[in-house]
């Protein structure tokens, strides 16, 4: 029962959405539209559920004094303050904005910037000419890196054109191949889910 009922719902919903895309049948088109509206509702509930789950996990960490529980305290306090402010005084409230602008934005930007330093270090350590493939990768990478910044234009006027050619021809052709394969794979996987051949997402059996 735990698998059969969700399986039937999934089949009906999947069938309606697919038929809606290809055919103009008013009843199915309207049903499909309603289903898409429900998705936003379910997604909002899922976000709330995710938040509640996060809060529960970290509250438990604090109660049981688990490893690095101090971080959980920070999370729980900030979570509570942000949620209370957001709900009671709206996200336009200046305290809410203060938290977002002075905690969320700098932390997010810092983490992203740190990744650039790590990438620079990783490039230095891994881009080595060990064989033909790595030599090709290195040469292409350097050409695109130079061609995409103004320094490349200073070295030679054809650098940007060469980098663009590599992106337009070699990159696009390869990306298209990957996209086609992924799309076909996705259609097959979706069909398996819709017709009930793939049931692992329902979780453990009865």
């Amino acid at each position: 029962m735990r698998r059969t009922v969700p399986g039937i719902i999934l089949f009906v919903v999947g069938f309606l959405i697919v038929v809606d895309f290809f055919f103009k049948i008013p009843v199915i088109n309207n049903l499909s539209r309603d289903i898409r509206n429900w998705v936003t509702l379910i997604a909002n509930i899922a976000i709330g559920l995710g938040g509640a789950n996060l809060l529960m996990v970290h509250t438990r960490n604090v109660q049981r004094k688990k490893r690095e529980w101090e971080h959980s305290v920070v999370l729980v306090v900030l979570f509570a303050v942000t949620v209370i402010l957001g709900i009671s005084r709206s996200t336009n409230d200046r305290f809410y904005r203060f938290i977002f602008d002075n905690i969320n934005v700098p932390i997010g930007s810092t983490l992203f910037a740190t990744a650039a330093f790590q990438m620079a270090s990783a490039s230095y350590r891994t881009f080595r000419v060990r064989n033909i493939e790595s030599a090709m990768l290195l040469i292409t990478g350097v050409l695109v890196m130079l061609g995409k910044v103004s320094l490349g234009e200073m070295i030679a006027s054809w650098f940007p054109a060469l980098a663009q050619w590599l992106l337009d021809v070699w990159n696009t052709a390869t990306q298209r191949g990957i996209m086609m394969c992924t799309a076909i794979g996705l259609v097959m996987a979706s069909l398996r889910v819709i017709v009930g051949l793939e049931r692992s997402h329902f979780g453990a059996g009865e």
Binding site: F21, R33, R36, N37, V39, T40, I42, A43, N44, A46, I47, S90, T91, N92, R97, F100, D101, N104, V105, I107, G108, S109, L111, F112, A113, A116, F117, A120, S121, S123, Y124, R125, F127, R128, V129, R130, N131, I132, A135, L138, V142, M145, L146, K148, V149, S150, L151, E153, M154, P160, Q164, L167, D168, N171, T172, Q175, R176, M179
Partner: protein, 283 residues
């Protein structure tokens, strides 16, 4: 020879320090390296220039996270400035949770050109990814009853003429990628394939190669990637901003990384030679 061998194991802290300097110095004192405008930025600019008329409704989705703000903010500002100049009205949504707050930050300098409720509205976060986007485009007021300020959406003056996707002239997504909200592929599927609307994307440079096929096939009408793309757009708009200021820093950082890669390889060949192995490219 020993000193050459050391080149493949330079302390990463030295690299970090040099990289920080390579970025900070040009930002503090710009060098003014010349750059030309590429075809992508020019086509993206021309599309807005030639197709957007005063009063047109443009959907602008802030599908971005705080992490990508430094790279995407110049793109968002440039396109918003262009749309403001062309007289378009902008309906702001976000398929990423940070988006609605970042939309305020980007809109704030345009408060006079795009008065709230008349030429700009921030409807807030749209949950549900691709399905949520599809639902919004077909029946916007079933998804957003209110804007982020709590105004009833249907009472907002600029939304009077907005019934569904058919009333939109263009869709713009400032896109961090699938982790931040609807991906480029999802915008193409819903915006272009399903509704035959012009989709214009501003994205992180790292996502550019993966999204290029959509642009080459004409499924994207605009495609502005990273600081370079935003800098080119600012140049076309004759409105120098954050991106042009960052171009020198980006060029210096790239040059430094290439230099270090080069040094690392010299070090590797030096070690090989020292060990009596044959250096160079092996088949």
């Amino acid at each position: 020879m020993r000193s050459l061998e050391k080149l493949q194991a330079i302390d990463r802290r030295i690299l970090y320090l040099l990289l920080a300097l390579a970025v900070a110095i040009p930002l503090y004192k710009p060098i003014g390296l010349p750059f030309t405008v590429g075809a992508e930025a020019r086509d993206s600019f021309n599309y807005v220039e030639q197709n957007i008329k005063p009063g047109d409704l443009v959907l602008m989705s802030f599908d971005m996270s705080t992490g990508s703000l430094p790279e995407l903010e110049p793109v968002a500002i440039a396109v918003m400035a262009h749309l403001a100049k062309k007289g378009a009205s902008i309906i702001g949504i976000a398929t990423a949770p940070d988006g609605p707050m970042l939309a305020w930050q980007i809109w704030r300098p345009f408060e006079k050109e795009l008065p709230y409720g008349e030429r700009f509205v921030n409807l807030g976060f749209l949950a549900g990814g691709e399905s949520g986007l599809a639902a919004f485009l077909e029946n916007p007021y079933a998804v957003f009853r209110q804007d982020i300020r709590g105004n009833l959406a249907q009472n907002i003056p600029m939304l009077k003429g907005f019934k569904d996707v058919k009333d939109l002239k263009m869709m713009v997504s400032i896109n961090t990628g699938p982790t931040g909200g609807c991906s480029v592929a999802q915008w193409v599927r819903i915006g272009f394939t399903t509704h035959k609307k012009a989709v214009w994307i501003g994205l992180n440079a790292v996502m550019a190669p993966g999204s290029m096929p959509y642009y080459r096939s004409g499924q994207l009408k605009g495609y502005v990637a990273g600081t370079r793309g935003a800098g080119e757009y600012e140049m076309l708009l004759k409105r120098p901003g954050l991106a042009i200021a960052g171009m020198d820093a980006q060029a210096m950082a790239h040059a430094l990384i290439i230099l270090f890669i080069f040094l690392g390889n010299i070090g590797m060949f030096a070690v090989k030679r020292a060990k009596g192995q044959r250096g160079g490219v092996k088949p």
